[in-house]
């Protein structure tokens, strides 16, 4: 408890009748990058506002960098960098003046200001816009200026409320890389409702829903807790065998609850705790069918997310072999033409892989 970077206990906050946070408790260790995930209105921004001393809780306590956010607010503020959801900036200033203002108010000693601002400007890729009016910057650059503001004083703890909202795919990748880089030396807590973001950046996920913590752990842990069925993709050369035969044979394998597909491509759903891949491979070999691809799809965060926040209740997720019905969202193959289109403009190669995992409307969810 004492050396946790952020320690929250029983935090409760209500706006009038609406309970935004309901006895929220969690701890974050130094150096962790934690993703704060939840639907809109789950209480993500509220908890961040409490941690940054902008609002105060009705009850409970929160400590950031060892200081109480209410009683030792000033100490907390000195050690926290905050990028608010709306990314507020003094739009009438030029970027350089704005960063100077922040540096002054953050008490960065005068001789260091200039070099520190340049350092941060380089890190955030805003060096060439330093003399531009903030109001004339694009959303992506504004976001970077906001981020520069948040890291200017080298805070121990970085609190970022939806840092990539409204950015284009290239910018998202850049900001994520920057966050990852920063996370190597700082505690970072970032909120998002974009699922692939957490997969890409975070070590740990906290899922909150209706002001309560519903899940806490790495993506793997959470998927495991949910006991999602395994999902495999199989591609076979169908030269001398019919689709029906393959399906029938696949279903005969122990643990397989569902096999669907046609044209040589099959989606296989199997119970989470039984090894089926080997058996499928052996089946292919023994029948002499030419196996072109056999891959396992890791449960995506959206599967996990829905499981925890009520899309599908966790109990329902455990597949009963006798009643092997699976919600269609889970077995839909990950094909998403519009997003592929977007990526064509992309030079980043690794993005391709990231996006294979990505859920249908990850980026569109943004509101």
């Amino acid at each position: 408890m004492t050396n946790a970077s952020i320690a929250v206990r029983d935090l409760t906050k209500a706006y009038g009748d609406i309970v935004a946070l309901d006895h929220l408790s969690f701890e974050i260790q130094p150096g962790e990058i934690v993703g704060f995930l939840g639907p809109n209105g789950a209480g993500k921004s509220t908890s961040m506002k409490l941690l940054t001393c902008f609002l105060a809780a009705n009850s409970g306590e929160a400590k950031v960098a060892g200081f109480d956010v209410y009683k030792e607010s000033n100490e907390v503020r000195k050690r926290v960098g905050y990028l608010a959801e709306t990314n507020p900036l003094y739009e009438d200033m030029i970027v350089l003046d704005y960063l100077h203002f922040v540096a002054q108010i953050r008490r960065i000693p005068r001789p260091k200001r200039r070099t520190r601002i340049e350092e941060v400007a380089d890190q955030c890729g805003i060096r060439h816009v330093l003399h531009r009016d903030i109001k004339h910057l694009s959303k992506g650059y504004k976001q970077r200026v906001g981020l520069a503001q948040a890291i200017l004083h080298s805070p121990e703890v970085l609190i970022l409320d939806e840092p990539t909202s409204g950015l284009d795919p290239n910018q998202i990748i850049e900001i994520r890389d920057l966050i990852k880089e920063l996370g190597s030396e700082k505690t970072v807590i970032l909120s998002t409702h974009i699922l692939q973001e957490v997969t890409a950046v975070c070590d740990r996920i906290l899922i909150i829903d209706k002001g309560k913590l519903v899940a806490d752990g790495s993506i793997k842990d959470l998927a495991h807790k949910l006991q999602r069925p395994q999902i495999l993709k199989l591609i076979v050369n169908l030269t001398d065998v019919s689709t029906q035969t393959v399906r029938r044979e696949l279903k005969a394998i122990r643990g397989v609850t569902k096999a669907s597909g046609s044209g040589g491509t099959f989606d296989i759903v199997a119970k989470h705790n039984i090894e089926v891949a080997t058996h499928i491979y052996e089946l292919m070999v023994s029948r002499g069918w030419v196996l072109r691809e056999l891959s396992r799809r890791e449960p995506t965060l959206e599967d996990v997310f829905r499981g925890f926040t009520g899309g599908v209740a966790p109990e329902d997720a455990i597949i009963d072999p006798d009643d092997a019905f699976d919600p269609p969202t889970i077995e839909t193959p990950k094909q998403n033409p519009p997003q592929k289109g977007e990526l064509d403009d992309d030079e980043e190669d690794n993005e391709e892989e990231d996006d294979e995992e990505e859920e249908d409307d990850g980026t569109e969810e943004d509101q």
Partner: protein
């Protein structure tokens, strides 16, 4: 202290980056200049700024709210208050920084009216006592109005609401002794001591009375404390 200075500079730069400050300065100078020159030719035999100092308090009740309307309303509207209030500065520092910022703007406006007494000085034997008293009075009166404006601005994110409400309060403060039509007795004395204009009249005669200064300073303290409370209220 350094934080307050940073905030003052920021407030001044915000004011001069917005068109409002220029409009306020120019209109105030046009109107008071107009009054001054009307008086200049009418009462040419009398070398004083009485008319100017007589009218300025009334116009300040309009113009001070225009200067102060944006201080918190704009920050609330743009969300930058969240930025400011998560920086290592206290609510009181924010309020004082912004208040001193707008008072400096007012001082600049008053500075631009200095040509009036200087003109008179070259025309004849000007009594500088009432002039200095008048300017000091205007500064204190204006600062009191501005503190009202800062307080109102901390209540709303709508600048129109801020200016109208502040104007109303300043006007009441200005005219309260004449408002109720009480001519004599204790009530009249009490109302008189609450009136911004009453205290201004005595300063502008060139008599700097501690009671007048105490009055203006109390208005400022009360209003700024209220503004601070309204900022702190989000942490309740």
């Amino acid at each position: 202290m350094q934080a307050i200075w940073t905030l003052i500079k920021r407030e001044l730069s915000a004011q001069f980056n917005s068109v409002v400050a220029y409009i306020v300065v120019i209109l105030f100078l046009l109107i008071t200049g107009g009054m001054f020159f009307l008086d200049f030719f009418e009462g040419i035999q009398e070398l004083s700024l009485r008319r100017f100092f007589g009218d300025a308090p009334f116009f300040l009740a309009f113009f001070a709210p225009a200067m102060s309307m944006s201080v918190f309303s704009e920050e609330k509207r743009a969300g930058t208050l969240e930025l400011l209030m998560t920086m290592p500065v206290s609510d009181l520092q924010i309020v004082i920084g912004k208040f001193i910022g707008v008072v400096l703007l007012l001082a600049v406006v008053l500075l631009f009216t200095l040509p009036y007494p200087i003109t008179l000085y070259f025309l004849g034997d000007l009594d500088w006592g009432p002039v200095i008293g008048g300017y000091l009075g205007l500064l204190f009166l204006g600062a009191a109005y501005l503190s009202v404006g800062v307080m109102v601005s901390s209540w709303t994110k709508n600048q129109i609401v801020a200016i109208l409400l502040a104007f109303f309060l300043c006007f009441v403060l200005f005219i309260i002794d004449r408002l109720l039509g009480v001519q004599s007795g204790n009530t009249a004395t009490i109302l008189e001591t609450m009136s911004a204009n009453y205290h201004f009249r005595s300063i502008s005669r060139g008599v700097i009375d501690l009671r007048d200064l105490v009055y203006y300073v109390s208005v400022m303290v009360i209003c700024l404390a209220a503004a601070r409370t309204s900022l702190a209220a989000r942490r309740w």
